[in-house]
Symmetry: C2
Subunit: 343 residues, 2 copies
């Protein structure tokens, strides 16, 4: 197996990307290929470890790419014109079977455009979408679209529901995953135009497409553990994702301050340290790692934009699992089956 | 002062509304008028307290209204046709100066429609919006629109920014409140069409309108305490609000389980109970109470849809403060000043 890592994407690139790859290399079986400016990567490895990359591991490689797609770049333009960017070169390797999965922490819009234009969509899917995993009560919550399609149509949301059903069934072993539509009320009449129309479409098609559609779900019930996936457009989904992250951060700081208010409360907190740690770990939303692009012909993983070296390490290990689980192959199979039924 | 309370709106109506009013009556100086089916209210009070309403307090009153607006009702139709509903009767009392503030936990859309059609907008404001208060790091965060206008235009978001500036300055004493636009990235190019256009409009007009516009803000930074208000459309805002609420609930349960995992951790947690309580209280998003409709000529407060008696009591006390602070009068003054400058 070969994992392709965009060395230049993300807020802490390339340092965190390189260190994450070095940390991960002895914990995965796959090769890891760092895509980016070769001399920069070589220089950084020398600086951080006092060694050549070849001395670190025979499974750690570099693929040279001289350009970088920035957060400010307009996605379509960047993918079309920056032919030698780390992202485009990485996507091309994936397409040409020179790797099994591509990871990037770069511009989400460019990542979606590249995945669609270079790697290609699965037949039957109009818009691939980011599927992120969040913690929920004694379980997890799949959020789709977590941030790639900022303007969506009802048909897109229907396909997001279908893809998440297949993904949860095949990869998480959930027989009839409960799929909800993110809304601001549970009644059919609630929501903006997109959500109201999507509700009707989901209601009409869910039986035929084998989706266990449970109706509108409000954010307040999303973490109850009763919902397996929550479907929404990429703008709302990303707001949802980052709000949970921001609140998680606030919760951790506030808890620390509650317990560390004064010397007495600090001393009194000592016996509870294991419980505090257990809870803090769960609230660390970052550690839930990368999101998979569902609907693309090969595995593309979006790493958190502000990934540090630990999170890159975690995402590389996670990407290896995605490939082992054959999540994407199974998605292609199911859509082929469906197409045949229609022929 | 007279507080008008919709006795029939909300998930737990009329029981929670009535009990909340009875609990609040000895904690406020104002009269509280319960609007709803008189015989039902009288019967409930007899059932709960074994007394007539007159025996509870001379400041607790009933205004009869025979109809109820349901959550499923289409807002405009409900306000136009259910003339004798508790909501319409309440609004009419407010308009006719038979009360100083109107509280309802009912259908948000109907509440916005009623506030606009019956009470009327402040001159210069196209769409009133719900301003909710959330906890943030060592401070609070104003969220506008928290859920009333599900489809918005850039001019609405500009006015939300302006109203929240005035409100925070006059009511919270924040000299130059930092106003952010809720987005999925900090760059100008990020977001859906509405947000990108609103960004440009805010950038262009903020100096003239005395708005301290700090640019795009992601959910992950919303609770940092550096932002005083976050501006968004009512759909996204309500998702934001309910997501924080859902996560807050999940946090409380998860923390409890972390500490109560087994007998040992339970015993070890005892010394930390004050810290746990302090933290739990902060995470109880419900206790942040009602949201004020900014842009309406008189104070209208939206109580939480699933308010229980405690929350109604809290919201009644909060409404008294809104009136005392003259938040709405100050808003009208500032917009009048601005209109004059334009003349």
């Amino acid at each position: 197996m070969k994992i392709i890592l965009d060395a230049m994407g993300g807020d802490n690139a390339p340092d965190a990307n390189i260190k994450g790859a070095v940390n991960a290399i002895n914990k995965v079986k796959a090769e890891v290929v760092l895509v980016g400016k070769e001399e920069v990567i070589r220089g950084k490895i020398k600086e951080f470890y006092g060694k050549e990359i070849e001395e670190i591991s025979a499974r750690l490689k570099i693929k040279n790419a001289t350009e970088t797609i920035e957060m400010e770049d307009v996605p379509t333009m960047a993918i079309k014109h920056k032919k030698d960017s780390s992202m485009v070169v990485g996507f091309r390797m994936l397409k040409e079977d020179k790797g099994d999965v591509f990871i990037s922490a770069g511009n989400s819009g460019a990542l979606l455009t590249g995945a669609t234009l270079i790697v290609g969509r699965i037949k039957g899917i109009d818009r691939p979408a980011l599927a992120g995993i969040l913690p929920a009560y004694h379980s997890q919550l799949l959020l789709i679209d977590a941030g790639s399609n900022t303007n969506c149509k009802p048909i897109n949301l229907l396909q997001f529901a279908q893809m998440s059903s297949i993904y949860l069934r095949n990869t998480f072993g959930i027989e009839h995953p409960a799929i909800g539509l993110l809304n601001i009320g549970t009644e059919e009449t609630k929501g903006n135009d997109l959500v109201r129309e999507s509700y009707q479409l989901l209601k009409e098609k869910s039986k035929e497409l084998d989706i266990n559609f449970v109706g509108n779900v409000e954010g307040r019930d999303a973490f109850s553990g009763k919902i397996d996936a929550i479907v929404t457009d990429g703008f709302t989904g990303n707001v949802f994702l980052k709000t949970t992250e921001g609140l998680g951060k606030f919760v951790k700081i506030s808890m620390k301050e509650s317990f560390m208010k004064n010397i007495l409360s600090k001393i009194l907190a000592i016996p509870s340290l294991p419980a505090i740690k257990r809870f803090s770990k769960m609230m660390d939303y970052k550690s839930y790692g990368g999101a998979l692009f569902l609907g693309v012909k090969k595995p593309v993983v979006k790493a958190h934009g502000s990934s540090d070296e630990l999170l890159f390490e975690y995402t590389i290990k996670q990407a290896e699992k995605f490939v082992e689980n054959k999540a994407v192959d199974k998605m292609i199979e199911e859509f082929q089956k469906e197409q045949k039924q229609h022929d």
